[in-house]
């Protein structure tokens, strides 16, 4: 008997019960299937919370890499404070404890009409709902001379792993007195404080091992997040070592000469002993292919479900999503993923959902014993997402306060990884 005939013949009480609890996928049918493509913070969190909150949903997570290295905290590896291994996490617990089918493969194409995902291996995964968490793609070609091959000489190190190791080796091999050039991207990009935390962490390393080295940041922008906190720290901790040139000073970044390790701007050409080029960014390629991104290069979504505004039945979370005032951070991806998971569970099983409650916290290191943080609450408003409250660390705080933020940051990393992969 399906729910329609039960509704026809049921008692009043029975009808009331059904209205309250009737799942969209009727009993006796196969389990509802959710496929999640991308096993970073957003994708892994959606998978785990869906599997936890609705045992009646079959959850498949598609991710080519066997392990995931977090981009956040990878500046600490560049500083020599943490190993890359300590930032790398496996998917075993998601499979063993939560029953998630983790498929180590790449998605090749999406058919939103047939509701299938084709994998590179040739397999096809059918879905009732699809979640894409593809992260970022680099706009190669936006700056003349910076293509994929260039990343082997001028690493971006903006997706953690081999790129981060390459940059660390280059910094180790650099002579004392050399210039480390960082090219910072235009908005919006993954991790707004990231390029400036990187400058701070590399300065921390230089101060110990290459005290005559200099760091030059060529920025596409005229200002950046937590600028006062960074500039105060640079003056205090690394006087004379870090110079930041805003977009209005350099004109714009025009091209790179990979062999010459130089970056040409409107006005000048700058050469570094090591060049860390962080390119302009857009939503990951699969999102572009599937028609989920708009002209901005990012994916517009409904703010309370993270369902695509362009392709119904497909949700986008994390860095790829276009969510107005929400920064592209791991914390935000995790926060969006939970809202998305509860929304999908509600749509497929009729479960309740509350909120949404959307937050961000970023811990940003200025030295091994000096970190700052921000806390932001967000409110879905008129089809988009706005900041409802924000608190940020202040210039001039006591050293003890900053040391406590370092402890909190380390505690947070442990708990956050437990939340996503544990």
């Amino acid at each position: 008997m399906n729910s329609w005939t039960r509704r026809q013949f049921g008692s009043l009480a029975g009808a009331a019960c059904l209205a309250a609890v009737a799942p969209r996928v009727a009993r006796g049918q196969a389990k509802a299937r959710v496929v999640i493509v991308g096993g970073g913070i957003g994708g892994a969190t959606v998978a785990k919370y869906l599997a936890m909150s609705a045992g009646t949903i079959e959850v498949t997570l598609v991710e080519p890499k066997p392990r995931y290295t977090t981009c956040f905290f990878s500046n600490l590896y560049l500083a020599g404070i943490r190993s890359l291994e300590s930032l790398t996490h496996g998917y075993e617990t998601l499979t063993q404890r939560y029953g998630i089918d983790v498929v180590h493969d790449s998605a090749a194409a999406i058919d939103p009409v047939a509701k299938t995902v084709a994998l590179k291996s040739g397999a096809t995964l059918p879905y009732d709902r699809l979640v894409l968490a593809p992260g970022i793609a680099f706009k190669f070609g936006a700056i003349e001379g910076y293509d994929e091959a260039a990343t082997g000489i001028m690493p971006h190190a903006w997706i953690a792993g081999p790129q981060t190791e390459l940059l660390r080796r280059q910094l180790e091999g650099m002579e004392d007195g050399g210039v480390f050039l960082i090219v910072a991207p235009p908005n919006p990009f993954r991790c707004p404080p990231g390029p400036y935390e990187r400058a701070s962490m590399v300065a921390y390393y230089f101060k110990q091992f290459k005290p005559r080295a200099k760091i030059l940041i060529l920025d596409a922008k005229d200002s950046f997040f937590e600028q006062d906190l960074f500039q105060d720290a640079w003056d205090r901790l690394y006087p004379g070592m870090i110079e930041w040139l805003p977009g209005q000073f350099t004109g714009a970044i025009k091209s790179v000469d990979v062999k010459g390790l130089s970056v040409k701007t409107e006005g000048d050409t700058f050469t570094g002993a090591v060049v860390n080029f962080i390119p302009p960014q857009a939503a990951g390629e699969l999102a572009q292919q599937a028609g989920l991104a708009d002209q901005s290069g990012w994916c517009p979504v409904e703010p309370t479900t993270f369902e695509s505004k362009l392709q119904p039945g497909i949700h986008v979370v994390g860095d790829a999503a276009l969510t107005d005032e929400m920064p592209k951070s791991a914390f935000v991806a995790n926060s969006q993923a939970k809202v998305c998971a509860f929304a999908i569970a509600a749509a497929l099983t009729g479960s309740d959902r509350f909120g949404p409650h959307l937050f961000n916290t970023c811990f940003t290191f200025l030295a091994a014993d000096d970190a700052v943080s921000d806390a932001i609450a967000f409110e879905p408003t008129e089809g988009t997402i706005k900041i409802s409250e924000i608190l940020i660390s202040q210039v001039g705080e006591d050293a003890e306060i900053r040391r406590r933020v370092v402890q909190q940051a380390n505690g947070w990393y442990d708990a956050f990884m437990h939340d996503v992969f544990g």
Partner: protein, 96 residues
Amino acid sequence: MSLLLFVVHRSAAAQNERGAQLAAMCASCHRLDGRDHGIPSITGLDEKKLVETMEAFRSGKRSSQIMNVVARSLSGEDIAALAAYLAVQPKGAEQP
């Protein structure tokens, strides 16, 4: 009668689900398995104490950048559902 029981049961289940979804938000920073590696554990605590603590963060009587922002975004009903849920979660394993 059965309908009434059902509704009562359903409402308790909904409250629990609300608490669970709010606790998911806490889990971004607090481990919910009772362990504490730098951010305090919040499971298995006295329900009334949890409500008082969240109210103190909400009013600003207690100061914490993150907790002030989180608490101010929650309603009194949210805090009640969250505290009821967290209070009955196991305190968890011994510290390693």
